[in-house]
């Protein structure tokens, strides 16, 4: 998500709307918005109905704590971010769903591990071209 935030101008220029979805409690979600200065709506899906509808699974321990995860944490530390102890379900994986202007799926990416997200540049290029994949 940090890559998307770095390209907010480009995102706005493409007319792309972004919402972030969390399964965590409202109090934690509100705190998170304040902490990171999130400029996009943070939608709360406590029962994970939408997570399940899009097949966002809970990961295996080996997928959660693999090399990619430690590498992502290392990059955060280098940038001066100190990860806090998670309060939510660390096994819940994330993902990304892109919907086109007529309400059809253009991209459906289910993360296989914490660091598995689609490349932002390719995603923005797809919108620019009006592609589905």
């Amino acid at each position: 998500m940090s890559q998307l935030r770095q390209r907010e101008g480009e995102v706005a220029g493409l007319g792309l709307r972004i919402v972030v979805v969390t399964f965590e409690a409202r109090e934690r979600a509100e705190e998170y918005v304040r902490e990171v200065g999130l400029g996009w709506p943070l939608l709360i899906d406590r029962r994970r109905v939408l997570y399940r509808a899009y097949g966002m699974a809970r990961g295996r321990r080996s997928a959660i704590w693999g090399l990619a995860t430690w590498w992502a944490y290392a990059r955060l530390l280098v940038r001066g971010h100190r990860p806090r102890r998670p309060t939510g379900d660390v096994n819940q994986l994330g993902g990304d769903v892109l919907v086109d202007p007529v309400g059809r799926l253009a991209l459906h990416h289910v993360g296989t591990g914490p660091a598995d997200r689609p490349a932002v540049g390719a995603l923005l290029e797809r919108i620019r071209r009006g592609d589905r994949d």
């Binding site: 792309l16 994330g94 769903v97 892109l98 919907v99 086109d100 007529v102 309400g103 914490p114």
Partner: protein, 41 residues
């Protein structure tokens, strides 16, 4: 499991942190990216 590209997106009605309800239909006419977060750290 992935939903086939080109399928209709799943309808939803979810509240955000300021109490507004967001529905899929609110985004018709725009590209919409839904980022499903892991735990919030």
């Amino acid at each position: 499991m992935t939903t086939p590209v080109g399928s209709p997106a799943v309808e939803f009605a979810l509240e955000d942190t300021v109490g507004s309800i967001h529905r899929l239909e609110h985004y018709r006419g725009h590209w919409l990216l839904m980022v499903f977060h892991r735990h919030l750290g």
